[in-house]
Amino acid sequence: MIELVSSVVPVGGGFTPLVVDFPFERNYVESIIYVSLYVSLTAVLLGTLVSLPIAILVGFSQFPGKGFVVALINTGMGFPSVVVGLVVLFAVSNQGPLGTFDLVFTTEAMIMSQFVLATPVITGVSLAAVTSVEDGVRDAAYAMGGTRLDVALVTIKEARFGIATGILAGLGRAISEVGSVLIVGGNIVSADGTSVTRTLTTAIQLEARQGRFELAMILGAILVTLVLLINGIVLRLGGGRV
């Protein structure tokens, strides 16, 4: 991505070289990164906790309409983020069911909408991973006296690479999306230039809207670098097979 930026800069014409002069306040960028990571990682963590049991349950039980349930889960992977943002906005709005908690334009509301976006991805991909675990392995765990939970844990362990991929796909969807966090978060920075609800993506969008493409690119490069780092960590932890 860094390469992308430098290859792109000449096209835009006469931009300041990146190295000479980092065009953002350190505090600004750091707080944006913090908000991005806080919101997306929390959403993905919650999403994972919800997804894995669903994936295991759906993956290993047979019931009429199962195909439809799977299609529904996968459909969630295509929820338009703006609509999710609006739904969450209605929910947390003063008139909404969660109105009393005063969550409009807060990171909590952003976590809610990213949770809605990330969870179907994590569930869908984990479901596929879990389905591919051989029956024999689960049988072995069961035969050795495993509880349902034990069998589920063994299954998760066997499908760890696929599940790690699902979690990373969910994270990718959450951390890269801009539609819902903009609506429910409001892209707010406080007067001292610290992010309240501004994420890397909303900041990128802001710069792009104002025609400051090179700044958008720099923020994009930061985002991609972060994602790469997280990917490296998750794959190392979870993807023993690689």
């Binding site: 049988d139 765990a141 050795m144 066997e158």
Partner: protein, 285 residues
């Protein structure tokens, strides 16, 4: 073992003190696989289950191991119909049963973790956590693991990945895994099918040791010699029906059902390449 002896006295209404199937029928997707099968494995005896390929031996063992709730009939453990009990109680029953599958079905982990898994899941969650924490920085030695691997002659493979084992090695690890947590019953599905004579003997020794210690052993095998060597009682399954169930000596020398005799005889005449082979069709009813 003492526990069971006591229970035997207490539960006089139970007609079997081991694992028993009563009038079991079971099938998959509309096809019947087992039909009215009754059979018991008492503690301290070895029951061999023999029969042609696809006849239902594996299904029978899986019903015994509580994998399938049978379509009909009851599965009893020490006289108790387990499928009327709570899942919790069935879990307790399952924890007394060790099983070796026809395929090795090893976990994608080290041999040690495979063999120690049975003990692992018997730990409470707090113990698991303590154990997991205590392992950080050092490797788990795994009580009982080395002993069980030693029985099957694979002590030195403890730290290897289970995926890199040869067919016979994997089968032996699976056997060690079933032994390692000291079950009361052993269900063995062709445990020596991929093994050379020496390793077969090792496993048969282990089976004999287990039986002598009071375990109830059920072994599905296609090897008539093996059935003769290890079994106290023999069950002959033909197309999902139990056509013969009795003391090994009688079944092998003087079976009631002519088809059982034919099936067993099948083996005896296939001695040499040039030998007189029977037409398979005359095994049919």
């Amino acid at each position: 073992m003492m526990r069971q002896r006591q229970q035997r006295q207490e539960r006089a209404w139970g007609s079997s003190e081991g694992l028993a199937l009563r009038n079991i029928s079971h099938g998959f997707d509309g096809t019947d696989v087992l039909d009215d099968v009754s059979l018991a494995v008492e503690q301290g005896e070895t029951v061999a289950i023999i029969g042609p390929s696809g006849t239902g031996k594996t299904t029978l063992l899986r019903v015994l191991a509580l994998f399938h709730r049978p379509d009909g009939g009851t599965v009893e453990v020490e006289g108790t119909d387990v499928w009327t009990r709570s899942e919790r109680e069935r879990l307790e029953v399952r924890r007394r049963i060790g099983m070796v599958f026809q395929e090795a079905n090893l976990f994608d982990a080290t041999v040690r973790r495979n063999v120690s898994y049975g003990r692992h899941i018997r730990r409470g969650w707090r113990d698991r956590l303590t154990h997991w924490l205590s392992r950080i920085g050092g490797e788990d030695t795994g009580e009982g693991v080395a002993e069980a691997l030693d029985v099957v002659g694979l002590a030195e493979a403890e730290t290897r990945s289970a995926t890199s084992l040869s067919g016979g090695e994997a089968k032996r690890v699976a056997f060690a895994r079933a032994l390692a947590y000291d079950p009361d019953f052993l269900l063995l599905d062709e445990p020596t099918s991929d093994l050379d004579p020496r390793n077969t003997a090792v496993i048969e020794d282990a089976i004999e040791t287990a039986r002598a210690r009071g375990l109830g052993v059920a072994i599905a095998t296609h090897d008539m010699h093996q059935a003769e060597r290890v079994a106290d009682r023999v069950a002959v399954v033909l197309e999902g029906r139990l056509i013969e169930f009795g003391p090994a000596e009688r079944v092998f020398t003087n079976p009631d059902d002519p088809r059982a005799r034919k099936f067993i005889d099948g083996e005896l005449v296939y001695g040499t390449r040039t030998g007189d082979r029977r037409d398979p069709s005359d095994l049919q009813e």
